[in-house]
Assembly symmetry: C2
DNA sequence: TTATTTAATCGTAATATTGCAATACGTTAT
DNA sequence: ATAACGTATTGCAATATTACGATTAAATAA
């Protein structure tokens, strides 16, 4: 199939999975690290930094943007991409809750 | 293509992306939440809880196990799945580092 | 206007993922 | 031995993802 049965899961589970999926590619991890390091990035810079073709980078940027993780501002011929603080902080918090919901093995198998 | 060019990314980026991918499905989020809540789970329990077929659950469990996030112990006819503490805590720490590497917009576009 | 620059979109090929029915595999019970 | 139970594996269909060449679009420069 290849089609996730989203209807059987909670909204929370689906949202968390969607956000994680947006991060779950080395190119997108690298893009986010570059944006964070430089405070903001332009598509062309990322094409030079990573070794991927321009359409590929553009596609990854769109995915991050669709997930709400980054935002793009048109600046003349260029587009300036940077982190969307609200979404980032929300995701950071949710991930924290998720990971902290488990603490150590009090009698496992 | 559908083939990620892992060779152009750092080991760290690939590992983080791989771990995130293992979590990036609502069924696997749900499975982990169930395991954490119950401390340990059996495949059949998860089949009942979530609404997915047994082979599908088994497959998701295998992915989580391959990623090192959970471990399975054979207990007679059953297999007891629980969190792998080391991998979990490592991932939690890495996620923390990743999310904390960005702090607020000091002059964005 | 006509280049030039930068990024998005389209189309497509290769591969990966999701889900399940059918089946196989171990382990325990009878 | 054989039946029952719980799980893993296989095989397959439908869909999604990744990557890029070719092209388009939109803004600035000449």
């Amino acid at each position: 199939m290849g089609l996730t049965k989203t209807e059987i899961f909670t909204e929370e589970q689906n949202q968390l999975a969607t956000m994680l999926k947006a991060l779950a590619h080395p190119a997108r991890v690298a893009i986010l690290q570059s944006i964070i390091r430089a405070n903001s990035c332009i598509c062309g810079d990322l094409v030079d930094e990573l070794g991927l073709a321009q359409p590929t980078i553009s596609q990854h940027l769109r995915e991050l943007k669709n997930a709400g993780i980054i935002q793009g501002t048109i600046e003349g011929v260029k587009v300036c991409y940077c982190i969307e603080p609200k979404a980032w902080n929300l995701l950071a918090k949710e991930m924290n809750v998720f990971f902290n919901s488990y603490q150590d093995p009090k009698g496992c198998c």
